[in-house]
Symmetry: C2
Subunit: 382 residues, 2 copies
Amino acid sequence: MTLRFEPLARDGAARRGRLHLARGTIETPAFMPVGTYGTVKAMTPEELESLGAEIILGNTFHLMLRPGPEVVAAHGGLHGFMHWRRPILTDSGGFQVWSLESLRTIDEEGVRFRSPVDGRAVRLTPEDSMDVQRALGSDIAMAFDECTPYPATEHEARASMERSMRWAERGHRHYYREGPSASAGTPPGDLFGIIQGGMHAGLRLASLEALERLGFPGLAIGGLAVGEPESERLAVLEALEPHLPADRPRYLMGVGRPEDIVSAVLRGVDMFDCVMPTRHARNGHLFTASGVINIRNAVHAADRGPIDPECSCPTCRNYSRAYLRHLDQCKEILGSRLNTLHNLHFYLELMRALRAAIEAGRVEAFAREFLDRRRANPKPVA
Amino acid sequence: MTLRFEPLARDGAARRGRLHLARGTIETPAFMPVGTYGTVKAMTPEELESLGAEIILGNTFHLMLRPGPEVVAAHGGLHGFMHWRRPILTDSGGFQVWSLESLRTIDEEGVRFRSPVDGRAVRLTPEDSMDVQRALGSDIAMAFDECTPYPATEHEARASMERSMRWAERGHRHYYREGPSASAGTPPGDLFGIIQGGMHAGLRLASLEALERLGFPGLAIGGLAVGEPESERLAVLEALEPHLPADRPRYLMGVGRPEDIVSAVLRGVDMFDCVMPTRHARNGHLFTASGVINIRNAVHAADRGPIDPECSCPTCRNYSRAYLRHLDQCKEILGSRLNTLHNLHFYLELMRALRAAIEAGRVEAFAREFLDRRRANPKPVA
């Protein structure tokens, strides 16, 4: 284990911390932009750094199919391949394989599927996933798990969780003992366990216990944001929070909307990832303090004002809504770029504000104000 | 008239000069990246500046249809709209209207056409074109002309050229005397005349004389690169060159391939524009000193080397062919960005090298070496 989590402050259950990795330090709570295919869509690494991104996410499933782990490894890992020097977290591939549905078969060994790229048969086991993540040179690898569908009976959720725990054990053994070490010149990296158990608090706690017996340097909460109501998601977080070890980072996978992040920070989560800011940007949905605007709306056609007068991002400093709408109408690449800069800035600013609020002991008040403003405009306005 | 052309050196017919405009100085021979819809595709203004672009081109036809001249004017012109502070040259819209073919009718007054965006009827006369270019705030406006098809008989080419000269006179009068002045805070700008006359040297010289009677601060050569063989194009340039005024800039419109630019510089041309570097980039065709490579070719799949080991562009400094091919395969926006950076750098570097060669009195030798290398690899290699 090479990472070290430094708790700095608490405010209720919310935590302010610092995650030290070989390639850099991450201020938490942190948002990790998603770089599915070895690029955070439309952004350069330099732009991500200038926005203040301290860690990004890569997708094992997509990169193992294209360009393949050998090509990435020959570049000194994903860092060399995509020219990003700060930490990278890779998922295990489990979620994407699970989403293939009719194209895959799952058994105790792992998953077999047809590549959606070229149709060839591919196997992915907990051990394979560790090998690929090693080849990618990720700073934080994720355990290979089975996603529990929603809804699931307690019986189904238990069986799925127990398989994930057996896979976590195999992955842990392979990653730390049996499998290939990181390549020369590449930091060794660390592996996070993933808590499963569906919406059942008892199963979630049993999953946490199983992972704790193995000993992971960080813990993720998986299997949420799969269609459940917000109340069920928050109930899982609240059931887990008192039992999560204080000395290790907590990562809520794939969540989510700004209001979801705020709610989860209040419940002790430290790390987040989601494609929402980048995907929304390419669809013309832009985040502002008072709601989401749809830049495609004709109301912006002659609007010389910025997306958000309160925003200090490069897009809002230099470009009008009218120009951004024009770029969107003309399907210009620059539109996707400027929108993505704005939305990622919004998310990373939100994390900075949350960190400051925790340090100041006023995260509850911050969250209430933020959520009230968002609830006033839940849908894209204008 | 506000521009001033400063001849610095000659080497044979090739010229090294400096074009002084209110918004900046352009070292000639110069290449102008094309920003059709108010954006040089995939680039920010900051990137264009860092590549050394000193002037860009905007398309009157496209911008008058979307977002409309009023919207651009309300932003303080195209500079404010697209956040570009250096000079902008706008074409007149004539070429695009002419390309609409079945959707337009041309008579002595001007052109009427159906907007390809929304089908509404639009009129574009020489005077309208001047008004729109004023509204766009362009530093160099172009006369509205009729494009002579290729091939054309001498009779057809003469009739077309003579109409263009009558339109040039109307445009000149409107731009400098009758029409709206530039908006407050916007430099007044200048208007270039366009020499027409098809492939007929006598008509080209008659067109030049007609424009000289009106007095334009710069002269363009239009109606080339419309399908004619290279020999015919070069013959037109050679027929014109001894008669072109030495104290004014010469702009060869829409040309072209790197070898076309080199050949035209040898024949006294100062300014160029072409979509080739940006369009090729998005299609994965990348310029190198020894030919064009197609990054989509599987031979690059594991190639850790840069596009061109001789190139100092940001793409070649930081990214491998394998990574660029991967981005292209995944249709990632970053691929278009990095490819465009490289191709524009190639063109702008070529212009720097041509300027240095003229100053050193060795432009013939430079051109011979450059053309020999290009002829060795005329088609995309690998």
